[in-house]
Each structure stands twice: as structure tokens, then as C-alpha cells.
Symmetry: C2
Subunit: 189 residues, 2 copies
Amino acid sequence: MDRRSEILTTAGHLFRERGYHATSMRDIAASLELRGSSLYAHIDSKEEVLWEIVNRAADAFLAHAEAVEARALAPRERLRALIAGHLQVIVQELPRATVFFHEWKFLSPERRAQVTECRDRYEGFFRRAVEAGVASGDFATEDPKLAALFILSALNWTYQWFREGGELALEALTERYTSLVLNALGGCP
Amino acid sequence: MDRRSEILTTAGHLFRERGYHATSMRDIAASLELRGSSLYAHIDSKEEVLWEIVNRAADAFLAHAEAVEARALAPRERLRALIAGHLQVIVQELPRATVFFHEWKFLSPERRAQVTECRDRYEGFFRRAVEAGVASGDFATEDPKLAALFILSALNWTYQWFREGGELALEALTERYTSLVLNALGGCP
DNA sequence: CCTACCGATCGGTAGG
DNA sequence: CCTACCGATCGGTAGG
């Protein structure tokens, strides 16, 4: 891992624990046993560091969802795969995902707009899966867009409490949350 | 409203928009057309301001849930009332609720522990409602504690996107989210 | 509630 | 990658 990647990884951990504004460039540098000024040989600004972290998280979420959609699954399996992918990214990239959800507001207006666009595109994958299920008769809901938001809301909060090595493993969490979501979309089996 | 309350209200709005660390005492003072130093006649420290906001939000959530439990409703109606109360507090106290969810980590360790305790107590109201429904046969879920967390997760995220005066009113949101939750807990009707 | 001010720390640059 | 340093700003206090 080169220095730039090390900086982004370390910053991701610190931003997650303390937040963007409560983490100084000197904090990041100290974690790597460097002086603050040395970071600027590898990055342009503190905001660029935040942007890289947020952007990589967005890419991870979108890449999973695109891969799922490309598989042309039946609605229930498609939603199941979207849920599994979403929880997997959150858990496996906990610092990045946390910073993505928590700190994106501190980006410049242009970059914030890009984040909003990514998020809207991502919600589209979930909305279309719900709509496909409604069309096929697998799901029943009067408002697929709100249902998609409900699902993502329930999943997103995971970053607030999930701890790797805790009593609940990712696989069990995924299975139980998937059951709750599929039930919520009714069309009882 | 006395000066102290004005300070807390203004701080709530600013902390919600910019976050705790990106809001300076001078920012709060400027919103009230005061100098930064004048605030200290009414409050002891910036952290005390955060604490008051977080504490009032926690009180609002807990007061609603206690009132619901005291009514001794049937499980479905009890959960319905808990959901309605939770969404109502979020929407009607958007700044306080947002700061409660987003900034509590910046409190001192002692106060952070108090917040955690409040949150655990609050989750208990939802868990007990789910358990009561399982016992009565109204709900079916293998893990009431996780189901309660799932429900609260879905509801909590509302602070991220809900805007008063938007196309979706609180009443409609409450109704649709309640349907999704009651479906999720299955025991298909 | 104000002016004046404190030491500490911030993001970032110059120059090597 | 370092030392040395910049102007700006931070939370908070003294004294009136």
C-alpha cells in the first residue's frame, strides 16, 4: 500500500471515530508517525482526503448494485442480493461507509451534488427491484419509492451499531433483515 | 423565551446544519446578534450546550414512549402508537433529533454513557411491544430485539431526508411506515 | 452585554 | 519528509 492509500485508510478510521472536523491533519500524520506538513506531498487538501473516502464508498455500493442488476434475477432474489450486498459493503468497509453516511455534508457544493446524485442512482436499484416485484405479483406496496427508502433506512443504520466479532455475524444479520424486508413487502407467501 | 433557551434553539439549528465542531460559539452568538463572549453569562461551555440539546431530545422520545406504554394497548396498537410518536418527535423537533442522532459522540464520556443508557431504555419500549405481539400471536419473529432495532433503524433515518412542507406529510409517512412494519412482523393477517 | 485579550490549535506553505 | 512558520480562528476569561 503506497503512502497516499495509507493516508486515506488512516483518515477513514479517524474520521469515523472522531468525525471530519474533530480530526486534524496532524492527527492523521501522527498515526503514520509523520509531521502534518508531510501529508501535503501526497494530497492537496483535507477536503480532498474526505472526498476520496466518500467517493470510494459510493463506488463500492454502486458496483455491487450494478453487478446484481446485471444478473437479471427474479424480484425476490434480486432484492435479497441487493440487501446482502449493501450490508456487506457497510460491514466490510465500516470506516468508509460511516464517513460516507456521516460526513459528506462537509464536502464542497459541487462534490456534495455528486454524492447526492450517486445516492439517488443507488436508491433507484432498490426502487426498481421493488417495482419489478409489484409488477410480478411477488410484492404488494402502494409506494415503491418510499418502500425502497424504508428498506435502505433500516439497512443504513447498521453502521451505527454493528461490530465485527460481535455476537451477530454478517450472515445471520443479512438473513434476518432480508426476512423482515420480504415480509414488509407482503404479498404473504 | 429567555436568552438561555434562545441560545439552545439557535445552537440546535446550527449544529444540525453544520455539525457541532464546524459551528463556533461566535457563529451562535452572531445568529443572536451578540458577541461570542456574551454567551458565557448564560451557559458554562460549548459542550453544555450540546448536552442540553441532546438531553431534551432524549426526554421527548422517552416521554412519548412512556405515555404509550401506560395506555396498556393491544400489541399492534401499541407498536403503532410507538411508531407514530417516534416519527412525530423526529419531525417536530428536527434540529434536536438530528443533533441527538448525529453529535452525541462529542459529549464527555460520562454524558455519552447517559445517552447510551437512554437509548437502550428507549429500545426496550419497542422490544417489549414486539415481544408482547409475539406472545399474543399477533407477530411472528424469531428475534424481537433485532426486529426492534430494524424498526427503529428504518424510522431514525427519517431525520436525514424529511422536510416539513415536502410532498409527503407526517401523517401519510406514519401510515405507510406503520403498514410496512406490521407486515414485516408478519403473522400475515 | 461589551471590549480586549489569552494560549492553543487549525489548514496549509516555503524552502531545503 | 523535515523544520520553521504563516494568518486565521478556536473556546473561554478578565474586568467593567
